[in-house]
């Protein structure tokens, strides 16, 4: 009894600093965000409670459109990350000379300071002198220069491509590890029975990677939903709001216009969506682990 009592005190003593830190820097601000979302807080000294006004006023502007844009932007980005990451992982798993070097070469976008990678993309998207527009013209795909960040449609896709580029390395390395964790015996048995590569990929690799795919798409989903740096550096939400996602909108309202109350209400909406994603994820993993037991 004394042992376990001592262990109990010790365990919580070990945890206390981390708990305290997260309480102050994350949990308290979270509660404070909810409180602020019911006030008209701004740079003025006085703060009044305004009830649900901030939430109803959200819809004054094209908020529904912003939500929809955030979801499609996130969806395409996550989908491309998964597909390209799987493509890369399968290729980097092939036993060909040089694969260790190729694996290292996958990592720079993930490891380099994000902002710097984004600067480089900013130059590539330049209409007059950038690489993409230049090459497209050279090979005759387009007639004149394409300023990717100047038009709503191209800016939308340009920011997605950059986001995918930053996210792919982690997905690839993670998928690669998942592929390598699949017992080789399965492949050998299938190979003995004359199964083709494609068949082995579809019937062994994909099903056994389902948990890894679900985990990774969930982590990407949360990261992508929160993506700020890329859009802010490339377009700051423009042109004319075509790349304004919920995070960008919140930042513009809260920090740009100093409307803390309204910004907080938007942040709360984001938190609600994120919580829903998490709940869905835990449901899914629980279902999967139950299937494994059967």
């Amino acid at each position: 009894m004394t042992q376990s009592r001592a262990a109990w005190y010790f365990a919580w003593a070990l945890l206390a600093p981390a708990i305290l830190y997260v309480l102050v820097i994350v949990a308290w601000p979270l509660v404070e965000t909810v409180r602020l979302s019911f006030t008209d807080a701004s740079l003025r000294k006085t703060v009044n409670y305004v009830g649900w006004e901030n939430y109803t006023r959200i819809f004054d502007r094209d908020f529904a459109e912003i939500i929809l844009r955030t979801f499609t932007w996130t969806f395409f980005s996550v989908l491309l990350k998964m597909v390209i990451g799987m493509f890369g992982a399968v290729l980097l798993n092939c036993a060909v000379p040089g694969r260790n070097l190729f694996r290292i070469l996958t990592m720079p976008p993930w490891i380099v300071p994000m902002a710097i990678g984004i600067f480089m993309w900013g130059w590539m998207y330049n209409g007059q002198f950038g690489m993409i527009s230049g090459l497209l013209q050279r090979f005759g795909f387009v007639d004149g220069p394409v300023a990717f960040l100047a038009y709503g449609n191209t800016a939308y896709w340009a920011t997605i491509v950059t986001d995918v580029w930053i996210g792919v390395p982690m997905v690839t390395i993670y998928f690669l590890a998942a592929i390598q964790a699949i017992p080789r015996d399965l492949y050998e048995a299938a190979w003995t029975d004359g199964a083709s590569r494609w068949y082995r990929f579809r019937r062994i690799t994909l099903p056994l990677m389902a948990p890894a795919i679900i985990t990774m798409s969930m982590l990407s989903l949360i990261a992508t939903f929160n993506s700020f740096d890329i859009i802010w550096i490339l377009t700051q939400g423009g042109p004319s709001g075509s790349t304004t996602t919920m995070i960008i909108d919140t930042y513009q309202t809260a920090i740009g216009s100093k409307k803390y109350g309204q910004g907080a209400a938007r942040a709360v909406v984001i938190c609600i969506f994120l919580s829903l994603f998490c709940i869905a994820y835990f449901r899914m993993t629980r279902k999967l682990s139950r299937q494994e037991k059967v």
Binding site: A18, M107, F119, S133
Partner: protein
């Protein structure tokens, strides 16, 4: 249905216990020349996407401005020079300071994370008292919220603490969001340390703290190193939003924000910006090169059962 040739090799290799794995594996991994070409082609396309910005950025840093702003577009630089790498130091007077700030902020954040996470990860790995699984879930949920969502109260908190426009305003919030993945990673590592060691230490009359300090910490050192590297990379790579919002003093800016101010001007001197970027990412590239094995291990340790 069965392919006789393949079946034969399988049976043959099974008969010889020494060559079982290698022979079948080697046979299975043998590609036709056509498949090899396809694989290399696929890898080339994949890496072209991953590396294009770096290649282009590097070539831009070599081009003189006059060639940069000329049409039609030229991929290869003519009369390439490293001049931009010299002139950028004048154009961006605080450049060396930006890199120093970046390293300082990343190092301080890493130290804070380690001090908090090492004990916590051990507690989560070794003890299972009531409430701890829930607490672990709560810690992991932190990574769900990006700093952007909590900016407003954090801004007011920093102002109340009087640390707006100091290094601390970037270090303290940055560290908090690096805690979840560090806890998860280190906990996974520490769970592999046999619990019998704790029992043995207890039998010998060692206190909990003594066991933690003298038995567990030395054994966990490789795991702690991996976590430190991962945290440092995260802290170095992701210092943007807090530095952008909580600090307006040029002399405290980390590299990304310092260059962002430069990037935002009308007349961007692109070759110098790219040269500066390459010098700025050099530390990260050196880290990848030397610690590649740790990186892959670190990234995947917590993931695969």
């Amino acid at each position: 249905m069965m392919n006789p040739a393949r079946r034969a090799t399988r049976i043959l290799t099974l008969a010889n216990p020494f060559s079982k794995r290698t022979r079948t594996s080697a046979m299975m991994d043998r590609y036709t020349w056509f498949e090899v070409v396809l694989i290399y082609l696929g890898i080339f396309v994949f890496l072209a996407f991953m590396l294009a910005p770096f290649v282009e950025g590097f070539l831009v840093s070599l081009k003189p401005l006059s060639q940069l702003f000329s049409t039609p577009y030229n991929f290869w630089p003519e009369n390439a020079s490293f001049e931009a790498y010299v002139t950028m130091w004048d154009r961006i007077p605080y450049f060396a300071l930006y890199i120093f700030n970046s390293l300082l902020i990343a190092t301080a954040a890493t130290l804070i994370v380690l001090v908090l996470v090492v004990p916590a990860a051990y507690a989560f790995a070794r003890f299972s008292f009531k409430g701890m699984p829930l607490l672990l879930g709560a810690f992991l949920a932190v990574s769900m919220f990006s700093g952007a969502v909590l900016l407003i109260p954090l801004f007011r908190l920093m102002r109340t603490l009087g640390i707006l426009n100091t290094y601390w305003a970037m270090i303290i919030p940055g560290a908090a969001f690096l805690i979840p993945s560090a806890i998860w990673l280190l906990r996974t590592y520490m769970m592999r340390i046999p619990p019998e060691l704790n029992e043995a230490a207890y039998m010998d009359g060692a206190s909990q703290f003594y066991t933690f300090r003298r038995v567990i910490l030395p054994l966990a050192r490789p795991g702690i190193i991996v976590v430190a590297i991962m945290t440092f990379i995260g802290a170095y790579a992701q210092q943007f939003i807090f530095a952008l919002t909580f600090n307006s003093k040029t002399e405290f800016m980390p590299l990304p924000v310092g260059l962002f101010a430069f990037f935002g001007r009308q007349e961007v001197v692109w070759n110098e910006l790219m040269a500066a970027s390459f010098v700025g990412i050099a530390p990260a590239l050196v880290i990848i090169f030397f610690l590649q094995r740790y990186l892959v291990g670190g990234l995947t340790a917590g993931a695969i059962k």
